[in-house]
Amino acid sequence: MTGLILLPLAWASLAFVLGPGRGKWLAIGGLSAQAWLAFDLAAKVGAGGTALLHPVGGWGAPLGIDLAADGLSAVMLLLVQCIALPLAIHAGAYFKRGDAAGAYFWPLAGFLIAGLNALFLSADLFNLYVTLELVGLAAVGLVAAGGGAQQVAAALRYLFATLVGSGLYLLGVALIHGAYGTVSIAILTPLVTSDAPRLVWIAGGLMLAGLMVKTALFPFHTWLPSAHGNAPAPVSALLSALVVKASFYLILRLWLGPLAPLTSAIAWLPALLGALAILWGSWQAIRAERLKRLIAYSTVAQLGYLFLIFPLLPGTDALEAGIMQAFAHGLAKAAMFVAAGVIIEATGRESVMDLSGAAGHLPLTLFAFGLAGMTLMGLPPSAGFLAKWLLIEAALDRGHWGLVAVVLAGGLLAAVYVFRVLRQAFLLAPADAVVKSVPRRLEWVAFLLAAASVLLGLRGVDLVRLLGAGA
């Protein structure tokens, strides 16, 4: 399991040494090996049925730092490698030699992925803070890379949001350490009880709030549309598909782990914000002028679903619904941003209104967009549909009809903005439209990711089984 952290660190730094624009094959090779490692880890966790533990330095918590991999970690690691590898192949074709935005893409992406993998494996609250910063700063760098004023402004906005988020989280960790003298999740979990001192409640609130800022939960989402909507397509894909999921994962970890005795009182708050996120994000996506901004707002909305599960935890299907949604959205949103990148590259236009005729010129890309849209709308047989199904069942289990209504309304709203794009693309092209040819590889990556998000819907049972391992 350490390979998943060491490998990307190694190829990221070597890619930097190699120099601007270089390191593509190093990255693709490294990511292929990581993908294999992630599947291997998933197989081990799934077969053993228990969490794997790796005490770094051989000390063990509380003195040392533990790495731990259970079903949840294994699923998230799979998600990262399964999305990063195709995106790397895509980015290899997307960034041209001498492209300022791509000059340092490989080292930055490498550190980002290393940070993500480290985050999903860490079982130490302070170490998690360092991984959060690694992920956050790498993500900011990717947004800023080689960009104009728009992009730099977006990066700065993102930077402050992520710094405030990790600052709140760090203060929480400091308070927890002050109260219990340890930051090991495993040791803390039995120590924290519902009669914990007020300090611990504040700490929990700070950590969750900080992570919600980083996950761009409504109303902390304001940084996301500009960051995800202005970055180059492969970067937007990485950020929307993976980075926001990292902080969500950590919320889930804390919620199910050490903070479990404290959270029952506030379980409706994230769900309420999630519901607002779905409505507001969808509404903004329906109104958005630029294609990428539409997709970015769709991310705001889709992240909302993740937070609907909290009042249903711990209960049947709730965790499964959240993770299925995270996985499905990751694949679909990566596909969608890649597809948008192809369209913008080919037509040279960014606005939704200028898409007319795209279906004729780029049928594969549009098909990919449609498939990804299926997942976002939660239409069968996509994985997004399974997530919706699980969520509705979990909500019915608790008799929460309000959540059911939100989920269903969200699906219809998603249909409005997805078909807003598809409809425009199916219109006849204006006579003066000029379309550049784009490498087929770019189109295929979008298609593969989108197809994966749909086909996963047929194998949801494997994901659920793996998720149950070692929990």
Binding site: L364, F367, W389, L408, L428
Partner: protein, 512 residues
Amino acid sequence: MTANEWLPLAVLASSLLPGLIIFVLPEGWIGLRTTLNLVGAIAKLVLVGVLLAGVAAGTEYGVRLAVLPGLDLAFKADALGLLFITLSAVLWLFTTLYAIGYLEGAPHRSRFFGFFSLCVTATMGIAMAANLFTFFVFYELLTLSTFPLVVHRGTDKAMKGGTIYLAYTLAGGTALLTGIVWLHHLLGHTEFAHTGIAAALGPEQAIQLKTIFLLLIAGVGVKAALVPLHGWLPQAMVAPAPVSALLHAVAVVKAGAFGIVRIVYEIYGVEFAQALDLLTPLAILAAITIVWGSFRALFQDDLKKRLAYSTVSQVSYIALGVALFGPIGTIGGLVHLVHQGIMKITLFFCAGNYAETLGIHKVSEMDGAGRRMPLTTIAFTIAALGMIGVPATAGAVSKAWLSAGAAAAGMGWAVWVLWTSSLLNAAYFLPILWRVWFRPRLLAWPDEHIPARPWHETAWLLLLPPLITATFTLAFGLFADSPASPLAWAKLIAEREYRAQRSDAPASPPHE
């Protein structure tokens, strides 16, 4: 995997695989695309033939695949499913032939035939679904794969029709999903079974079950174009003629009607549905739709719009038959599933021919078309007479059984509904026949594409499909008592359905 397991999958694959390959074919590879289309369609027919023989002999075909713990994608090919499968597979072949002729030289044909094949795959999935979950999966796939076909022309008008279509079907899908998850939540499964499964819940859940029934029927009712959920159908007639054929006869409205059959018979069970007082409201709704659709059809000058309202009316015959408690009504409803498809596809093929050959889109432009295009007009006439229910056509058989069923179920008013509808049918079809055969042509044709030659009134690929389906219309009427007729098959289904009811064998849930 045994042959009994992979046969249903092969039926799906016979249109799915050609469809996926067609998507990536370059536009110009016409020969390969046509070959793929036809090989797929014929392979499917062969497979369906094997299934028909097997099911008639009592073999059970089925396969399931776990999607989530406790949730299976399950297929079965039973007598009821095969009725729909056979109809769709046969009509698919003719529609493909017709579409090849119709779209000759048009742009984006790879995309068109790709989605066309997906659409049929979805229909097959709906027909073979062994539980409501699977049904829903393919039901939504059908929505998605028909949208690009409806908007195929890419005009603003097409887009408007497509958007309305989507709004209705997606909203309907949402209602359907709600009902299915709710039912699944209550029962733990949604498998179709001969006597239904809802009865397992007992009377204290009656309110919930009624609400679920409402949701489910609203969901499938959108595609079946039950009033007041029918608004999309007349708008969707902007689609190219083969797509209209697909919407009205092969796939979409049929999927909705078929869903009603499955839900009433195999989820609720016809006796339990009767006990819950669900059948009479359904019958009333169907009756309203029948009359309203026919009534609206009277006032349409646009030929395809008139046909669309006619569909609204005719498809509800199926719903009416289902809602008539008793085997005779069932037989009438089921057989109409086939008969309506055969007749309506003929009418749409012919409407397409008039439009493609002469540029005729409106009823008022049809004067004298019979002499210019006699073969097309003969086919149109047969199908129109069938719709009215003139003896010796398939339509007469349907109406006879439905009336008898209504009488047997003690719903005399339904017989009146059928008579009223027949009168209205006559009122909106006979003027057309009068115009085409007996009014002289005074003006030039609106837009003549294909010049007249003896025995070549239009392209052969456009002419053959309606002629064949018109022949079916006659044959199913004349030889209704033959063992190979749809009527015989409908009797087989009804017999199995009601025999299972009588033996009171409890349906066994699948996960045990």
